[in-house]
Assembly symmetry: C2
Homo-oligomer: 253 residues x 2
């Protein structure tokens, strides 16, 4: 059995293609929509339960009719991770529980006018909770806002979802080394940068984290157009590291 | 010649269909996408110049490639009128001038991270400016945030775009009576309400305003699903009043 993990979006805040950009990666995505990257998000499915991980896709209402998911779990309140909620909240006849980090600001007027969104008590770092059949452990990340990554566990299989982050706080790194994930989904927004990156991993930091944590397999997400262009020229990655794509599914069993 | 006005969206903040709603209006819009109402917005075209009026549609990048419009004019910074900017701002290689009311808050981090958006000095009520070949006069409206309506004039033809508003400030009402528009596009979000409406006109207030201002023709916009349902049962409106629809075009000549 186990669980299924589906990437519903793998792009950075600019998405791919970038509006008006004619770089090779954006031109490829314009020619072939299968290469486009929407807002970074995912669906986790187990035993008839579906959890939506981040809600930045603006077509949530059109794509996921009521009943398509039972709850939403947010990493943080940056617009590219919550934009879809601004329409979803005005839905009728049902409510949607929303879990996420402690962040008093939220995003624009989401807290003031939650509509059908039922914001839950904030998640507490390293305190495991059950959402449906899934065991979720929140892990603090390094970013310009309060962000939580999540270790998702079901029937002995572990997937760690770690975006948006630059490197990792020591406490989360230690936890992941002690609870080695079968799959790690990791923020890697840009190609290697000359200076230390801010807010998001470049490829150098991401691969260093893979070497320390040594998950069974790593998939890079939150990918920007410049990383896509870099990978078109330099496709070689370690054997256990891949690049996520919109629509990619992982069977965790 | 004159100018062309195209409704790119005519819905209220909930849009039509409302997510998960099975009222007759939402069911109709689900069956027939031509009856759907997107975020309230419009395009104004004259002599090769295109002005985008509000930017709430989330598919701006996909629908309007760079060069499709020369500037954006905002009525206000509520999410349903600016949401499309959160993607548009990350575009490449060109800038977009954005005009609008004075509002120190803006929306989320738009001012902090404007990207390609070039926010202009705020519009001043009753002070006419030229945007391309269009003469634009900002008119204060009544809403829960600073909002400006606009009288758009070109070659002697006048269109007043008045949303979001409940009734009108005395000064704007006087101005409109003195400068009777050929076409008035007016906020009418709901069917007649038992209590005085807040923030948006109901049909009662909208028709009273038509009687006072007496424009050549009035088109109601910012329409919610309950007004659509009401109009399915009560389609009779005064001869000079119609209901806008997504995609509707007016030739102002
Ligand atoms: Mn992000
Ligand atoms: Mn972020
Ligand atoms: Mn509105
Ligand atoms: Mn408004
Ligand atoms: Zn590009
Ligand atoms: Zn409805």
């Amino acid at each position: 059995m186990g669980f299924e993990f589906e990437f519903s979006g793998t792009g950075d805040a600019r998405r791919v293609p970038v509006y008006g950009c004619d770089c090779p990666a954006c031109e490829r995505a314009n020619r072939d929509p299968g290469q486009a990257r929407r807002a970074c998000s995912a669906l986790v499915k187990a035993g008839g339960y579906t959890l939506m991980l981040d809600a930045g896709r603006t077509d949530l209402c059109e794509t996921f009719p009521p009943g398509s998911f039972q709850a939403i779990l947010l990493t943080h309140y940056h617009m590219d991770h919550v934009m879809g909620l601004f329409h979803l909240r005005w839905g009728a006849k049902h409510t949607v529980p929303v879990y996420g980090p402690s962040d008093s600001r939220g995003c624009d007027d989401l807290y003031k006018h939650p509509g059908i969104l039922d914001f839950q008590t904030p998640m507490v770092p390293f305190t495991t909770v059950n959402l449906g059949p899934l065991k979720i452990t929140p892990l603090p990340l390094n970013h310009s806002r309060p962000v939580l990554g999540y270790c998702i566990e079901h029937q002995g299989k572990r997937l760690a979802y770690l975006t948006d982050t630059v490197w990792l706080p020591e406490s989360s790194l230690d936890w992941l080394c002690e609870h080695r994930p079968d799959v790690m989904v990791l923020d890697c927004s840009t190609p290697p940068k000359p200076e230390p990156p801010r807010n998001h991993n470049d490829l150098t930091l991401a691969l260093e984290l893979v070497n320390i944590i040594r998950p069974g397999r790593t998939l890079l997400t939150h990918v920007g157009h410049q990383l896509d262009e870099f990978l078109m020229m330099n496709p070689a990655l370690p054997n256990d590291v891949g690049v996520a794509a919109d629509g990619m599914r992982l069977e965790m069993s």
